[in-house]
Symmetry: C2
Subunit: 128 residues, 2 copies
């Protein structure tokens, strides 16, 4: 299968697929014309990558997850630890965003939003 069809099937952009090959996440064969020739295995890997990325795993994590997936002797504890670490990072990020959200909500609420220059948002940002 050619890259365009793979992109459609996996919903991963062509550019991204080429990038994943460049960094060694996949290793599609080549046709005699130089086109990448994707096998089921490659499609499967890309789908795996797509789902892992959708869960916010970094490329490094994806690499580790794929290695674990392909290792028959893996311990699920290793996978779980990876996922838990990532989960904690997500939780931290959410907490951070919620703090920003709370402050911004308050500032937006307090701002008249009219044609006058007086603005609590700018006052807050400029506060000593």
């Amino acid at each position: 299968m050619n890259i365009g069809d793979v992109a459609k099937r996996t919903a991963i952009p062509v550019k991204t697929i080429r990038y994943y090959e460049e960094i060694g996440l996949i290793r599609p064969l080549r046709d005699t014309n130089g086109y990448r020739a994707f096998r089921d295995k490659d499609l499967h890997k890309l789908a795996f990558l797509g789902r892992a990325r959708a869960l916010g795993f970094s490329i490094g994590d994806c690499r580790a997850l794929m290695a674990l997936y392909e290792d028959e002797n893996r311990a699920s504890a290793d996978v779980k630890r990876l996922a838990q670490d990532h989960l904690h990072q997500i939780e931290d990020k959410i907490a951070q965003l919620r703090s920003m959200q709370a402050t911004l909500n308050e500032l937006v609420r307090a701002c008249a939003g009219d044609s006058r220059p007086d603005c609590p948002i700018l006052r807050d940002l400029a506060s000593e």
Copy 2:
């Protein structure tokens, strides 16, 4: 004031301050020896930037916010719109992260996390 002291007072790294000058957010004077000479105005601007960045505003937004701050004839509506747009982006991001969090939580919960290879996390990522 020299850059090191400014960094301490504003809690913005030296490298970042130099970067902010490079992209034109601040314009400190120079001493005869070539050192940057920060005035109160620069400190004030950096503090403003620090707070805006802490609320998650992009550098572009910060530029716009500083311009509005310095514009006596601004309309608070412009500031409010900027803040509201940003707030929406934050809300979107939170929603996205919470969705990841929910899925990951479920997967982590389902994973034994022992020495056996069987793993619901990998099963999910590999699912057709």
